[in-house]
């Protein structure tokens, strides 16, 4: 594969159009990252995406790219509304998996010696791990309201403040959700799982602002050095997984019906405007709203856990939403193509929207600085706060990376963890971790991931995001 790569600049490489590819594929990476990227199947997957009908510009892959199923994780693809497609595999099973960043009025010294109390309180309050069920008992009617109202349902039922909603993508409620397109299987899987973290790479992380790179923008986001922060990373749980599963079956039939060539069955899709495409968009929006509500509930319990652990009131902790991003989603957005505004169906699978300054979809209070972008790293190193740029609007349909990206398979990580106490190793670095399963702890070990600093340096170097601040973990709960 390496011999076929064309270097566009120090941060961007192109796989030229060959065979059934309709556009070239473009990979954002530095030269040092290429060996890892090319040893994986992800570039081949980016090429497969480039074969889908109506793809516009390029099939993009971000520097955290790795082998997914169908689309690569870290993939971005935009499709023409008239002759392009929508693909559930291009969104992923965990619809609206995303990240919320919370800030507090606490500084690092306020929580010194109390991190174990905070993490233990979080672990007790937030159901996590395989098979976890949430404390919210939903009636069938309420569950459907969650699917249309998203985080607004949570706020209306006493979980959080109205102010929280302004700082969420889509203000925490994606329009167009049709609960009737969600199967009984999906509703059953979702019912007991609202307000749960799940397992795998999902987490709640207590950290602090270790370094500020752009004082002015950080101040606008309410961030300051040594400030205590919390990151929530989870998605739509079993409800989203089942919606994806159900619609992959629909799309396999649709691809046949519309004569769409599929290099991988997992890429099955239908024309955006077809009945199958429109039904998926309605069901996907329902899954998106479930995830918005899920993170809102977890935020509420995080606030309570902090107050309980620190014996402090809400004004002392003052936990506010900085922003929340979705990194597994498809959206109908307007972008400039060949100098003209065009509506496109933009798929981001393991990629984050990164709209630049002035875009109307960015909350008014942040509109002049650009959309905040939240990039969690592994539990032993850093996470980053960035903002979107004009360049991202021009180059990547306003998209950037979503995390560190795995570099070790789970099997290899388990092997490498043998005979080691990861809990102790992290504690020695000042990070207290509480995990539901030892296996998750091993699979999610820091060295299983790329160094997130290299990933954000690549997107910043490419100009598709701007680095604002670096956060360092102090305590983590893992599913």
């Amino acid at each position: 594969m390496k011999e076929n790569l064309i270097k566009i600049n120090d941060f961007l490489y192109e796989i030229p159009k060959t065979g059934k590819m309709k556009v070239p594929a473009r990979i954002y990476a530095t030269e040092n990252m290429l060996a890892d990227i090319l040893s994986d199947n992800a570039p081949e997957q980016a090429k497969n995406v480039a074969c889908l009908p109506g793809i516009v510009g390029y099939s993009f892959a971000m520097p955290d790219m790795h082998w997914g199923y169908g689309f690569p994780i870290g993939g971005v693809a935009a499709f023409d509304m008239d002759d392009g497609v929508i693909s559930p595999g291009g969104v992923g099973y965990d619809i609206n998996c995303g990240v919320r960043l919370l800030r507090t009025d606490l500084s690092r010294k306020d929580v010194q010696g109390k991190i174990t109390h905070i993490v233990d309180a979080l672990f007790a309050s937030i159901p996590s791990g395989v098979g976890s069920t949430g404390p919210v008992r939903l009636s069938a009617a309420d569950e459907k309201k969650v699917l249309t109202e998203g985080a607004h349902w949570a706020v209306a039922n006493g979980y959080g403040d109205r102010e929280d909603l302004d700082k969420i993508e889509e203000t925490g409620r994606m329009p167009g959700a049709v609960p009737d397109y969600v199967s009984d299987h999906a509703l059953k899987r979702g019912k007991a799982q609202l307000g749960t973290l799940g397992s795998g790479n999902h987490f709640v992380e207590v950290g602090y602002v270790e370094q500020v790179f752009d004082e002015k923008i950080a101040a606008r986001l309410g961030l300051f050095k040594n400030q205590v922060t919390v990151i929530v990373h989870t998605g739509s749980r079993g409800l989203g997984h089942q919606i994806c599963d159900d619609f992959i079956k629909v799309m396999l039939g649709a691809a046949d019906k519309y004569g769409i060539y599929l290099p991988d069955r997992q890429l099955c899709c239908a024309p955006v405007r077809s009945p199958e495409g429109q039904r998926y968009l309605g069901a996907m929006a329902a899954g998106v709203n479930f995830a918005f509500c899920n993170r809102q509930l977890i935020t509420h319990w995080t606030r309570e856990a902090f107050m309980r652990a620190l014996c402090a009131g809400p004004k002392t902790v003052n936990m506010r939403v900085v922003y929340e991003v979705a990194h597994n989603i498809a959206k109908i957005e307007e972008h400039k193509v060949n100098g003209k505004n065009k509506k496109l169906c933009v798929h981001r699978k393991g990629a984050t929207r990164a709209f630049g300054p002035g875009h109307p979809a960015v909350p008014e209070s942040y509109r002049d600085i650009g959309q905040p972008v939240l990039i969690p790293g592994d539990m032993g190193r850093y996470s980053y706060v960035l903002v979107g740029t004009e360049n991202a609007m021009r180059e990547t349909f306003g998209s950037t990376c979503h995390g560190a990206g795995r570099v070790l398979s789970r099997k290899k990580a388990l092997k490498r963890a043998q005979g080691r106490s990861l809990y102790r190793e992290l504690l020695d670095k000042g990070i207290y971790v509480k995990a539901s399963s030892k296996a998750t702890m091993a699979e999610e070990m820091p060295e299983a991931y790329k160094n997130v600093s290299n990933v954000v340096d690549a997107v910043a170097g490419a100009g598709i995001s701007k680095i604002v601040a670096r956060l360092k973990p102090m305590g983590v709960i893992k599913g």
Partner: protein
């Protein structure tokens, strides 16, 4: 014959299954003498990924009946249905006393127990059974399948 519940199932799985290395997820390569054995072994392997160490009792029974347009879809639907039982009823598979595949229809009786978090070491949650690199093939006198799970 007296035996520890589920042991035969585990031994059978380990001899006929290769667990694949996938960067973000996990997969299995399965080999069996018959289509029924291929489906049973794939199910056992999926539950081995979910809960690798403990053997399970057989206190709960379920019947599963599925039809699909092709054999690969039938395998995905079968595993997805078992995963649905795990997700919604916390059902852990111990045994498949009866399974019949007739063209593209499957009927099976499965037995197992409800998860006890104090006893079972639940390793991962399987989000879905994917179609990525999926195949079901007859190779000479054997059946083979490859399945990748999203976890």
């Amino acid at each position: 014959m007296s035996r520890e519940p589920g042991v035969w199932f585990r031994v059978f799985i380990m001899k006929n299954v290769t667990f694949l290395d996938h960067t973000a997820d996990t997969g299995i390569l399965v080999r069996a003498d018959s289509l029924e054995a291929l489906f049973s072994t794939s199910a056992g392997a999926m539950f081995h990924i979910i809960c690798p160490r403990k053997n399970h009792n057989k206190t709960i029974n379920h019947s599963i009946s599925i039809t699909a347009p092709d054999i690969e879809q039938l395998l995905v639907d079968w595993l997805s249905e078992l995963n649905f039982l795990f997700q919604t009823k916390q059902f852990l598979l111990s045994d498949i006393p009866k399974i019949k595949i007739d063209y593209l229809s499957l009927w099976a009786q499965v037995s197992g127990e409800r998860v006890d978090f104090g006893v079972h070491d639940i390793h991962v949650e399987i989000k879905a059974v994917t179609y990525h690199k999926l195949y079901v093939r007859k190779i000479n006198h054997h059946w083979g399948a490859q399945i990748i799970f999203d976890i």
